[in-house]
């Protein structure tokens, strides 16, 4: 059974149609890349998958792990295994990184009928994962993303992903604003999470991220529809030719 099935998805934002019929199937363990020009609807797709308010699905359906995703609230989707790595991670003044992660883990445990996680075991687990991403104890104690650089915020997103162990990781422009060192750290973090049971949807404007995170399939999203699908060689082709063909096509 496919992990994610999107069929004929039409989405409006403030009365304007952004997605105009998306079909996409992702099997467990697959890594798909969605590439496209700015304004093509890439981020809209990530928000619709994660359940953000303000995105009206006017037609189509999304099944995730056998369930009707569009019937679920954002938190239910997260607990069911969807993870969005934000393009612009949000600052949460006054909420410490550890408190935030513990709340997120315990929400999952509660949904599974389990008790709260042991505080010491949790601390140890988070610290170990943070270390591989170059996130210090001091950063974990600070308020979530407050005073973090762009690269620190993106690494923090990958830490959330590593701790929450989702079934589907949606990475929205995770490479934007990173220098080459940070890009490698983030990519290594993502690759460490590749698993036959875990799928990834990598949304990006540029091919460079896909040098580090090798996709099984590449889709071109333009003007609200997937215009072309291919293997990783398609990304290289786009890098050379740009999106002009897709933007100008009628």
């Amino acid at each position: 059974m496919a992990l994610l099935e999107i069929e004929g998805l039409h989405v409006e934002v403030e009365g304007k149609e952004i997605l105009k019929g998306i079909d996409l199937v992702i099997e467990p363990g697959e890594v798909h890349a969605i590439m496209g020009p700015n304004g093509s609807g890439k981020s809209t797709l990530s928000y619709v998958l994660s359940g953000r308010d303000g995105y009206d699905v006017t037609a189509g359906r999304i099944r995730f792990d056998g369930r009707d995703l569009l019937e679920m609230e954002a938190d239910e989707r997260a607990v069911a295994g969807i993870f969005l790595a934000f393009q612009y991670p949000v600052e949460l003044p006054g909420v410490s990184g550890m408190t935030f992660l513990k709340e997120a883990v315990n929400a999952r445990r509660k949904a599974a009928g389990e008790g709260e996680i042991d505080a010491m075991a949790f601390l140890k687990m988070v610290r170990a994962k943070a270390k591989t991403l170059g996130i210090t104890d001091e950063m974990l104690k600070r308020a979530v993303n407050v005073g973090f650089s762009g690269g620190e915020k993106k690494r923090n997103e990958i830490l959330h992903m590593a701790v929450l162990e989702p079934k589907l990781c949606v990475l929205d422009e995770t490479d934007s604003g990173l220098d080459i060192d940070a890009l490698k750290v983030v990519s290594d973090g993502v690759n460490a999470l590749r698993d036959p049971a875990r799928s990834m949807l990598v949304i990006t404007h540029y091919q460079r991220l896909l040098n580090h995170i090798q996709p099984d399939k590449v889709h071109v999203l333009a003007r609200g529809k997937i215009r072309r699908t291919g293997g990783k060689e398609l990304a290289l082709e786009l890098e050379q030719k740009g999106y002009a063909d897709f933007v100008e096509a009628a």
């Binding site: 359940g51 938190d75 997260a78 949460l92 003044p93 006054g94 709340e103």
Partner: protein, 436 residues
Amino acid sequence: MTTDTRTLPLVAGEDPAVLAAGSPDWLAALRRSAIARYDAIGLPGPRTEAWKFTGLNAVKALAPVPAEGVPAIELPPAVAALDGLRIGLVNGRLAELPAALPQGVEAVALGDPAAAPDWVRARLGSIAAFETHPFTALNTAQFISGVAIRIARGAMPEVPIVLSVVQAGGDETATIAHPRVLVVVEDGASADLVTVFQGSGRYIANPVTEIAVGEGARLGHAVLQAEGADAFHLSMTALKLAEKSTYEGFVLATGSKLARHEVRAELAGEHIEYSINGVYLGADGQHHDITTFIDHARPHGTSHEMVKGVLTGAARGVFQGKILVRPDAQKTDGFQMNRALLLSRDAEVNSKPELEIYADDVKCSHGATVGELEDDELFYLMARGIPRGRARALLVEAYVQEAVALIGRAPVRDAFAAVASDWLDRHVAGATGSGE
């Protein structure tokens, strides 16, 4: 000043003329001029600028009697657990004093003015001006007791003084009391004071606290206004600060049907560090008014004011903050910020910052924000699996505790954090609002 003909009836048996006649000369003159002033200005009406956001019709409709009896009230557990020197006022009268006070700390009742020591006579009534403030005039004319606390020169008591001010209200008839407090922190001394206002039933609490902080002295002063749900709380805290002194003020307001917490500070020397921060939490039809006046009279003064509010139901918040920088107060550094978080459509806030600057080399900033919870913050939490209700509670808690963290003394800060959390648990965690 608009005069309202419907003034608050004076309390029988506490005729100010009688009180004045029975007072020693130093107090009699003060009482007479206070009542004359009260008669002249009356209670503020809707056209009185200083009170335009806080209407007093409900107060004026009452015919209060003197507060009697002892209400069954306990301090909030977190405050009761504070290691401190407990002083208690009940219905404006001194009811509890520690058997022994540490070296350098003195506390006397104000019930027998004839026996008042010199340090009380020299200060009482000299800090809280009543010329334009009818409630202060009323208190000055009618207080029957209270407490005066002195921290002697250079003294530094190890634990905070916890001053509990309680009042017994009536079932139908409201009561009134005018608790009077004088705190004198002498040169070089340092102390912490926690004032807690509580009560039960229907009542008007009209406390006046005068505070003098001497040269190089410091006072940390945290106020918890946790009056009963049917209370009207109209308080004045008046401060006179001397050179190089520090005042770290905080107010946490959770109680009352209608409350005005007013703080007026005269920064009368150079290099004073003054802060007045606070949080008001309002539910249902509560009305919270925080009004402050900071008078920078001398150079190199610093003032910091951060007031945050959380309002649910049909609660209303009022913030009025005035900073005056006099011509002589060069190098003043003033910061003022008022934020309010509205968790329901019916909640409302009025914010009125005012800067009046006559010196040319100063740094003053002020700002105000009123808003709902940020949608993107809420979504970020939910996208990690945290349910909407819990996400809201976490964000509101963080918002409030950021302000509570400004309380300098750790045990006091922890106690106030617990009181605020408790309020949020009862009024926000269970909220079913959609947040949209």
